[in-house]
Symmetry: C2
Subunit: 228 residues, 2 copies
Amino acid sequence: MAITLYDLAGADPNRRFSPYCWRIKLALAHKQLDFETIPWRYADKDKIAFANWDRVPVLVDNGRPVVDSWAIAAYLENTYPARPALFSGSPEASRFFNVWADTVLNPAIARFVVLDILNHLTPTDQPYFRRTREERLGQRLEDVVKDRDQRLATFAQTLEPVRQTVAAQPFLGGASPLYADYIVFGSLMWARCISPLRLLPSDDALEGWSERMLDVGDGLGRRALRYW
Amino acid sequence: MAITLYDLAGADPNRRFSPYCWRIKLALAHKQLDFETIPWRYADKDKIAFANWDRVPVLVDNGRPVVDSWAIAAYLENTYPARPALFSGSPEASRFFNVWADTVLNPAIARFVVLDILNHLTPTDQPYFRRTREERLGQRLEDVVKDRDQRLATFAQTLEPVRQTVAAQPFLGGASPLYADYIVFGSLMWARCISPLRLLPSDDALEGWSERMLDVGDGLGRRALRYW
């Protein structure tokens, strides 16, 4: 197998939830590239030290390591230009999607799912995860999620720019999905794979797009171990 | 002159503040197309009735009317493909910027500048503007802006995805500005042309990008009648 992806996993090796890894798995499927994933835990930093990096996704393409999801996506586009394009024109013109997901969408989702993540990790990963996330969030994880049900309406509103875009066209990318779609849907797959709490009602106007996204790569997301 | 743009104006015909018209003025400059603008007031609906539309921008290209800023941008891209591209690839892949500005950025800016807009309009436009905006916002315009100073920090945070994108590259479009930049900067020109309230501190990390945007089209924005 020429392409390998180190992919964040819970105690159950089939529990794959990292939004950044989902972006790349969907991108690899889009490029019609065969790949194999290696389940990776936070304690496995030594296993990716060869890449001079300490978090996933780490892609290894014929022995060459590539790190950071945005850099990996650009690498795939530049290395496999003859395969379906991940970007409309240059990757840079889509960087805003990456930043929007990282600064607006993911922090909002984290405040719903962070305790669910903890509960799915290996016993070894749990203390590390609790300590680093409680430092980052300045609260006990139990307190972060305490009022999460009251935040659902605000969260739905956060997705309004996505909702209105895919009301006007099938995908953020236009008639077919592009990396922008994988960025945003990767964040939703994070929640769907780790938490039983549905972040969006089943009659949300995003549902049509979500179903189309679950179909990408012959149902890559649909086949995943997930709650919704 | 082959291209004419109906452009929202205040009592002073040089006061041009519509964010949607700014998008198109910057797009026309980007395409290096000569154009003339016609100052238009809310009371002038009869003057654009020929286009079967009731708001600006309305573009007339050799007698052909084109309405709605997004449709006008796509029209310019498709009609003048040999001139500098406004989009990286297909316009659809940038639609999210348009929706984000319309649903997140502009509603936030409106709550700072709506009373300033009123105060710059012709006496004929003022009652119409007050009535329609107070209906939309559910408040007297004086009450909408009452706490605006307290909202500045939140507003700065709203622009964080733009700030981080142009920290990584010169423009939202990449190495050079694209229509995505004109969408977002058009919203800021709305505020800069109509309100003395600086929405961003002069040491904001967006300042470098803002200065580059003021330079677009030989300083089209820089030369405008504006407060900041």
